[in-house]
Symmetry: C2
DNA sequence: CGTTGTTTGTACCGATCGGTACAATCCCGG
DNA sequence: CCGGGATTGTACCGATCGGTACAAACAACG
């Protein structure tokens, strides 16, 4: 059932998916060995801190991905609307159009507070600040940047939650599409929409 | 640490809070006995089906509360804006202004799919339909009822998630306040706002 | 080929998991 | 005061939990 993970990085990638769908408590070491094809020997060689280190490695992986692919671009983008729409595209792709849950959200809700609460908070705070920094660059909405960011991130996470809970990925893509329209409606220079369909 | 629960109903109330903050996997029978003051004997007398029946009793409790206090009123209300604002007030109070998580959301994310997926889906679907049925009664927005409902519920759940993840309840109350303004902005007869501040 | 350090499978550990059995206790009608 | 059904604490069950110990297998390099 489990093609053996060839490297620590590949093991981390599988851990991410494992924690994403089963939560921290729902992932047992036997499940990890099954999903990675690695025995306990290798596992504790890669992750001497045990399960908690595995989870932290998974969170590290996500932190890194979002920082370089989502947050940093947002902070550097010249115009808010284009930057935010690019972010929405990236997020839609990352979450497989609503078929994949957000690991940070899973860990945040599963048990709270928990050992990961601090870094989960940092993740969402970084996301909020990245959005706000882009909006502040917008001539029309710079005063409402905090509010705009809070609204947008709430919608993303809520839409994703609904998509998972209902097993209807379209709940997420609909939400993303609404947010795209919001960008065009409330921010200054809206790039031509591809196909309003 | 635990004043003994005097009735099955009181035990269920404590189970709700227990599952809400620790998730299904995070609640062990020893935790249940500690939180309810009930030994295993009483526990399996009240809930012969064991932990799964305890969880279902907790979900029943929430289903009932929302059905009578939120969903049914929404379906019966004459004007959409007044009904939705009453719903927002009720929801804000129920979730303790963002200090309390949504048990349905916790169970939905913790592990998916899981034995409770079907009823979790029913819960969110009922909520969506209740909102939509109210909006359909609105002369201005009746055509966008589905979209309006999806957007509103996403925002509620996302705002709650952010409040929990950041341990900043204001993230939730801000979101609720934004939704109140949305109601006044996009629905026909807006009752006078208390204080636009 | 030999040696040295890393990687790996396996046996094992105490603790805790959800659940059962059952005897003691309680409560209440007669 | 007594008898019988409901309630309850406790001892116990096999399974699984996360984690450790360690020896065999392996790799790299001289």
């Amino acid at each position: 059932m489990a093609p053996r993970a060839a490297s620590r990085e590949e093991a981390v990638a599988r851990l991410v998916e494992l924690f994403r769908t089963h939560g921290y408590d729902g992932v047992s070491l036997s499940r990890v060995t099954a999903a990675t094809g690695l025995g306990k020997g290798s596992l504790f060689n890669y992750f001497p801190g045990g399960k908690e280190e595995m989870a932290n490695a998974a969170l590290d992986h996500i932190d890194g991905w979002f920082e370089t692919r989502i947050f940093a671009p947002l902070r550097a983008v010249p115009t808010a609307s284009a930057g935010l729409i690019a972010m929405l595209d990236g997020v839609e792709a990352y979450f497989h159009s609503g078929r994949r849950a957000c690991l940070m959200a899973v860990f945040a809700l599963e048990s709270h507070p928990n050992p990961f609460s601090a870094r989960i908070g940092s993740y969402f705070r970084a996301w909020l600040e990245a959005i706000a920094s882009a909006v502040e660059r917008d001539p029309q909405a710079s005063g409402r940047a905090q509010d705009f960011a809070e609204n947008m991130l709430s919608a993303i996470q809520g839409g994703l939650l609904l998509a998972i809970a209902l097993n209807e990925p379209a709940r997420f893509t609909n939400t993303i599409e609404r947010l795209r329209r919001d960008c065009c409606a409330h921010l200054a220079p809206c790039p031509a929409m591809a196909s309003p369909s």
